[in-house]
Symmetry: C2
Subunit: 191 residues, 2 copies
Amino acid sequence: MGDNINLNNLPPGFRFYPSDEELVVHFLHRKAALLPCHPDVIPDLHLYPYDPWDLDGKAMGEGKKWYFYSRRTQSRITGSGYWQSIGVEEPIYSSDGQIKVGLKKYSDFYIGEPWEGVKTNWIMHEYRVLSPNSTSKSSSSQRRNSKIDYSKWVICRVYERDEDDDDGAELSCLDEVYLSLDDLDEISLPN
Amino acid sequence: MGDNINLNNLPPGFRFYPSDEELVVHFLHRKAALLPCHPDVIPDLHLYPYDPWDLDGKAMGEGKKWYFYSRRTQSRITGSGYWQSIGVEEPIYSSDGQIKVGLKKYSDFYIGEPWEGVKTNWIMHEYRVLSPNSTSKSSSSQRRNSKIDYSKWVICRVYERDEDDDDGAELSCLDEVYLSLDDLDEISLPN
């Protein structure tokens, strides 16, 4: 019945907070395999290179983060600027920690002409699937899957870093900082 | 239809991540007013002073955080220790920022005899409603509500602070730290 969930009528407190693994294993795998996604919440905006502040109402938005499908590309240029990778790709593991299922790339948004812009607080996480063939496991089902081009699609998550932002839905960071203040008296500074 | 949501069958990516305001305005208000909560996800554990590591399977758990109703009390003593407030209460405002609707108290869990225990990494957020009468607004419906004892119930959220914890569902803190490393070369240190 979860398939029929009405996204405009979720009960209070329930939100779209996918884990890295879910984005890769559920949403990206199904997209690449042309399988239906239930619910079909993440739109494909590959043909629409919106500026990050124009994603609201077009991408799937939750907690001031926006999600959309796109395709792998070497450069993401928008109307007002461009996304530039910070040069790091973080591996995404399956929840049992055994299999590397995807990669997560971090980018900053710059306003201006490529590649001479001014860095903003807008951040993108770009998820892609690691091809099943590149993992150590091998099976007949994976050989069947080798016809699917898993590397074509990515999911982008975009948000604006804002240290004043505390909407209550994401507490861990501010709470940790807040509570760590309590530990300050336990720190001894060198004289 | 959201009322009939099957919590064991939420679509991938959807989780219970209530905001401070939702905990106060929806869950605590309805509990105090004896109104049904849809879905009825948060259990009342007032009579069961579980140690924090025993809450799994008893409280509502999501992302290694546990939620339960309790009653206001001056001391929370469990089988193995006790909760001690860090002495701060944070106001919770309505989403329009106009009305102070509740308070959020922070506590640490200590193992041992009160009040001589050893502090742990377990943390509690305790939410309570501010009585409608204590706000500046006044109306006939609020006068009717004055028979309800809003101060009796609290919601407790318990979790263990763990700096190695990165399950992907709560990214903001680690991501911010991670990305801020990128800014380090912009910092000039005094010689």
